[in-house]
Amino acid sequence: MPEITLPIGPQHPALKEPIGFKVTVEGERIKRLDLDISFNHRGIEKGVEQRDFTKSLYMIERICGICSHAHATNFSKGVEELMRIELPKRAAYIRLIVGELERIHSHYLWLGVAGHEIGFDTLFMYTWRDRELVQDVLEIISGNRVNYGINRIGGVRRDLDEKTIKLTLKHLERLAERAEFYTKLATSEETVVARLAKVGKLSLEKAKSLGSVGPTARGSGVNSDVRRDDPYLAYDEVPFKVITADNCDVLGRTVVRAGELAQSIEMTRWALENIPPGDIKKPASRTAPAGEVVSRYEAPRGELVHFIKGNNTDKADRFAVRTPTMANWPSVVEALQGQNIADIPIVVAAIDPCMSCTSRVTFLQEEESKEWTWTWDGLREYGIRWYRENRGISWGE
């Protein structure tokens, strides 16, 4: 049977963010996969070099709309390490609580998306309804449903009062009940198991050598979690278990996330009940001394790394980000080999990819240096011409 190359994306119904796949198939079987992730480079690393630490913090929070707190916390703790500020205990607990609530909302969101990709839309409706509870709690704590803005360099912006703690604990009870239900569902519901087991195989050795992180790695038996192995904030005080599964397939990744839901709920409850009194912020200088810091954080999707280089000014000399999704792409290419075309959406979704969507493109004309923005018709016309000239695809015009 001859090999055929199928272009899928960058806009397609399976995923909501722009990514292009070039899939080489033989019949229904995938032989090779090529990824194109170049559709949304926003130049944030360059932008951070030109802004002071406070402004950078808000920009970095917008790297991702789902795990925004992960980026903001990782950057603040890195800059604090550079400035040699010891974070107040209470602030560390508040960051941890928001971080775990964020993980709960992110994993609920993922369970819904996974349900949708396998045609189980009831699960999608259920999880997204339950996710509203977490969103409400986050709004009460931080004032925002997304991009919480709770961090500042040297501490947090808002304190927790008794009323908020009580209300959060009440919501957590309900969430814990639901998490138990989803864990049962992920491990024993027949349609889920039949659709996910043995799909998207990724062996322990491959997961390690390809640099997978987070639930993707733990679903293949890699026993690694930044919160336990490289503790930050108050993770060395809060009791929790690292969930792993040795299924090495999409089912394993689902089981890990469902288990982490329950763990995160328990951790948030423990932290709320044991939060120490005291200050929530320390004064921070505007400038950071010369030096380099590697800051790590266990985001909902896995290990997040920031490299921050200070140079005695109020700006970072170099700020590098490695998001968990970037680390997990090689494992997708591996996991899709030999699979059916119909498995692409769920195997890709199983790493919980996050391409970060919002971007507004401004063009500068070469000779006049005047800014302009695309109109819808102009952009459409350009797109059609580009595909005709570069890919030989004609749209019948």
Partner: protein
């Protein structure tokens, strides 16, 4: 947890000095679970092998470039569950930004090297698939946005499309 104390005494620093000697030009440990190493173009592969074999660094966290204005630096960050994070810095000449690929010994490096190549213009001879990763297909060649001497707008090259194409796309609404 951040801590404001001075650099700590990490027993690994002495181990490195003993085992690798002149292959490393600098070793320091700013805090627990962090070691910063510096190697040369001749020795970096030996250091990476040593990290993998002796210190169980199975995970490559990140490769990033740094523009030091007079030179470049490529930094490899390796993680080991037992021993922590090892950041290996390799300095490169400004007029010859080139370092051999490590994809043969660290498969996870495949995308990170492409990213550094894209944004800094550092060459990785031997890389099996060196194409653009983050910048769009029609980004002008020779423009590397994360270099310090690259300023957006300054070179009038911010546009992603050639001016001839732009003139054809009349739908664009001009904003002064």
């Amino acid at each position: 947890m951040t801590d404001g104390s001075k650099p700590i005494e990490n027993p690994l620093v002495a181990v490195f000095k003993n085992d690798l000697g002149s292959k490393l030009t600098n070793v320091a440990s700013p805090r627990q679970r962090r070691v910063i190493l510096e190697a040369t173009l001749e020795s970096y592969r030996d250091v990476i092998r040593y990290l993998q074999e002796k210190l169980d660094c199975y995970h490559l966290s990140l490769i990033n470039g740094v523009d030091l204005k007079t030179s470049f630096e490529v930094v490899y960050h390796f993680w080991s569950d037992k021993n922590g994070m090892f950041s290996l810095k390799v300095p490169l000449l400004r007029d010859r930004p080139e370092i051999g690929t490590v994809t043969d010994i660290v498969p996870a490096a495949i995308l990170y090297e492409r990213e550094v190549h894209d944004l800094f213009g550092i060459e990785f001879p031997g890389h099996p698939d060196m194409r653009r990763l983050l910048l769009s297909d029609d980004w002008p060649p020779g423009e590397h946005p994360l270099r310090k001497d690259w300023k957006p707008g300054e070179k009038k090259m911010l546009c992603l499309i050639k001016s001839a194409e732009m003139k054809a796309a009349k739908g664009g609404e001009k904003v002064a």
